[in-house]
Symmetry: D2
Subunit: 340 residues, 4 copies
């Protein structure tokens, strides 16, 4: 068993970490850390629990700690909001901890891998060259995770020249309290702060190559426009992609279905199928498909050929599971598998 | 005063016709027609009224008639569902009526103009060459109306090579009962039957030219992907456009703002500004902006330059006002202005 | 293993039966019956599946049968809509089947028990006196189930003089397509057809006594007012109750917490706690608590004493699990336990 | 013309004041006051405008002032949040201003009238006995306003012994940002802070009598249970009332319909009908009826007789118009009519 701590344990992503780590075969939560307001309180008092399962009773009784690097643990998961994550993660790294972070702060750092195990497991090796004593592995932005998982088999088989993506993102992506109900009930907000920027750079790093211990970014064009919609969980992406080689919908569906490069590793949080291509004209839908593969599968649907090398399709990612806590846990499982 | 009849008067679009024709300076509703189930009933009994204003008392008492061409009136407005509109409109046309239709059935007929007055008023002249005795003018699909109003000033100033559009459409676009609440609460449905097809052909006709009494379709590429979102009214469009000439966001905004080619006609239902460019990063929003210009203005916002000739922006159209009943009424006003 | 058939298997409640009977220790689905439109199709084609888990693969492939009493099975579960359930259930009963029905048609029949196992298990014995060859056991209306589960420990300990209840009910209670999104988005509908009538009579039967093989209805007054709210699942009840004896909030909470008269039976679908009293001022909430006890527990909260013998509290019941399919299955489990 | 200032002008209720005072025949907005964060900014910059009409252009350009009693105006409207209203209103009162407040702070003060003009106009005379130099008139809590307007004609005609009310309240009642979307999408929250307390005392003051320059509270029992629902505007009340005298639904409907004791005053903001009794089983509904009488009418519907002296019915009030800004303005109009 590995002892793990969660930074930002009281927030929405923190709650997902707790949910996903319940009954984990080799990670055991030993510390819940949060802001000074919460530190010292029992978790049940400190957190505004928003999941529809009860707080696990052992967790409920744990006393929340401040985010200080004085914890006896093997791995640290960071669910901290991006505005505070940077320095706290630095502190833990300096103190020698191995951190798997969902925060944006260090995603683009040159020596920090930005990983979705099914997509760019090899980027993990960047950690070998990180200046010690600690280690930092990050996972991408929630929408980006859904996007790159769908793009990866296309890139591998046909190459990618350009991508245009329009997102329809769930309210849970903004944390709690996050989006005011007055702003989103009966409405769409065509803007999410910093989201388009992330979606227009992170995929190039993730789909890039490791060259001499650095990431050479992928070269395709990418444009993103991000919208908030009145949906609880699940980011839906309308994707337009131009391939380098000729392709067909059949071939791309086949590539989606066969995609599972980490199957042999048998990681406990890995879904049976990372990509599920759904038959039907009106799929995927957040309400129906966000929980496929326990929220770890990305659903794709309705791929349409526009011309010889242009296609469009839909992709859906559970933003707080695969798009956040679940991806960080999968990164930790892969790291343990490879390096320990 | 012109006497007008409304076909499909009990449906959602029919209700908007009634609302918009209340106190109209020269159109007076003399007949409300609907299916045989409704015929013979008082309108207040026949219609499931869904607007947040009461049924006008005179209308409430009118007895609904069947959709038969035996009405003493000058103009006929058709709010019929597309699956029944075709033959009924044919019957009225054969009987010599002048019809302004919101239905899709005849939009692409060679001799039928598909008109948004601000965009292609000149197409109206097709009616002169329609084989008598009746006349038929159609207005486009709701989303298409929002799109072509925003594209027109771009086309006139910079030319258009290609358009990609992703829509987030309101539930009222599906009529009543339309979308089941179980399907759309906490959800997005990435499919609307026949909608993408309409959006990928209608703009080419509308933005085409009259050449020898026929429409020569515009030649740009267009791809559309349509989604239903849990919003009452207002279709939001995320638009990506490639221009023929170099342009800039400033120039396009200026073109949006100056756009009002029918201002001199002073049509009663025409908004002061057909296009309203909103400042701000998170606009337009359905809930806040759908009623601008009494629901007849299209709001545009957040135009961003992608490269020398590529831009993206958002557009919002009130789907049952500008996108349906309001556009048909404006067509009738323009027709009267020009030909009577 | 008992072989079971589901009547009305394609509807929302039918889908919940399928979900809850997956991996059941002694019920195995052998037949899925539905209307003639569906009969002959594979289940995956016939049903518009609305749950967020995939259709179990074995079920997906089963061919839907018509609702005819020619099935080789031990028990029949009826998830039929009330407008067709009556005669179909009669036919099955005449053919000798043992039916556990969620439909309203026969709930008030003199020889038919209306049962929630935790509340009035003893009513089950009515079946012994049913004229053969078949048997029929019904479960109450969804809101009623939540109500009587909360009232039972109060009645047993303090007696009940009168009850006033206002409901806020989920859209899934109306089946599919059910409530139109135009009617319920941003709205409350203060009416549900036949619901108030059911809530004002069924509790008196359920909380009544078996006297000489008949039910002597309980005598308290009851008033119900029912509302539909934009919630997916979970009926929330605001309950006002006048007791016969003096009581206190502490005593009532104790009665809630200790309530589990069928614990010794160890029925597989029975929740560990039939009633869960939640601490806090703003509970229970449909989104957070409807799935407690796998949807089989009723949550109660915020009991307040109004005067010596008047109290108010909130209760929440998952309407398609405990309030429908789950209760019918529990009835069948109890029946098997007692009589077979 | 009277010059008016608005305290708390940037909030949701402040915005409604601005909307309702546009084009007012004798009130002219001369000052917009808000917190120190907003003071000094143009209104368009300071306010997060949430209405679906644009900010009136004159208002947009006005510079927001701090809430200091140095304004040259005749009347002051207070839309301040209750947690800051008390001392600020005191300061204005000491400085001699005449204040019409929507805030809760002073509603129950012995010398302060709590007025809905149609219900207890005579209470206004309390101001004559207020120790100078300023004057303070308050209007009730939003839900209470709907309740007392419906109760008043019942009380006058049949007397009232007891009232039980369950509310389903809109999110706009919590201000902005107010209710988090994560808390209310697909949910009902059965608690609104301090709301039940207000509803259980304010009606007794409002329906009380002026006796020797003081209010003698009405004596009926009242119990309230308040819920938040995912509705934009409009509080729906499920009301159970026990009358002192025998009554009938017909007589109560007649009393509702004839209710308009201030008709002769012709106040500009007064609706033609303060109470509108709607025919039909499923009314009133927030989405359809909240705007009746420009949001100033209370809709009532579906009155049902329970026994000789018990009735239940539904009432709907637009919470930010009649339930807040509109009532304060009507109070000011009545005050001016009577005393100036």
């Amino acid at each position: 068993m590995k002892k793990v701590a969660i930074l930002g344990a009281t927030g929405l992503v923190g709650q997902r970490f707790i949910q996903l780590l319940q009954n984990h075969p080799y990670f055991e939560i030993v510390a819940l850390c949060a802001s000074d307001n919460s530190a010292g309180l029992k978790y049940a008092q400190a957190a505004r629990w928003k999941l529809d399962i009860p707080i696990p009773s052992k967790i409920a009784e744990m006393v929340v700690r401040p985010c200080k690097p004085d914890i006896d643990c093997d791995y640290v998961f960071s669910a901290l909001p991006s505005d505070v994550a940077g320095p706290i993660e630095d502190e833990f790294r300096k103190a020698g901890y191995t951190i798997f972070s969902n925060a944006a702060s260090h995603r683009l750092d040159e020596d920090v891998p930005l990983v979705v195990p099914e997509v760019n497991l090899d980027h993990l090796e960047l950690v070998k060259h990180q200046k010690g004593p600690g280690k930092l592995v990050t996972n991408p932005n929630c929408s980006t995770i859904g996007l790159v998982m769908a793009l990866k088999p296309i890139m591998d088989n046909f190459g990618i020249e350009s991508v245009t993506v329009v997102t329809m993102q769930a309210i849970s992506g903004a944390g709690y309290p996050g989006v005011a109900s007055l702003d989103i009930l009966d409405n769409v907000i065509p803007f999410i702060k910093n989201e388009e920027e992330k979606m227009m750079i992170e995929p190039k790093k993730i789909l890039g190559k490791v060259v001499e211990n650095k990431i050479e970014y992928a070269k395709f064009d990418i444009v993103a426009q991000c919208n908030r919609v009145p949906v609880q969980d699940g980011h839906l992406l309308s994707v337009f992609v131009e391939t380098s080689l000729k392709a067909s919908t059949e071939k791309i569906i086949k590539a989606f279905e066969e995609f599972n490069p980490i199957k042999h590793m048998n990681l406990p949080t890995a879904p049976e199928k990372p990509l599920i291509y759904l038959e039907g004209v009106d799929v995927p839908q957040p309400k129906l498909h966000r929980n496929l593969g326990n929220g770890m599968s990305v659903s794709v649907g309705r791929i349409v050929q526009i011309n010889e090398r242009k296609f469009r399709f839909l992709a859906l990612v559970h933003n707080t599971i695969r798009g956040a806590a679940g991806c960080a846990i999968l990164n930790a499982e892969a790291y343990k598998h490879l390096y320990e």
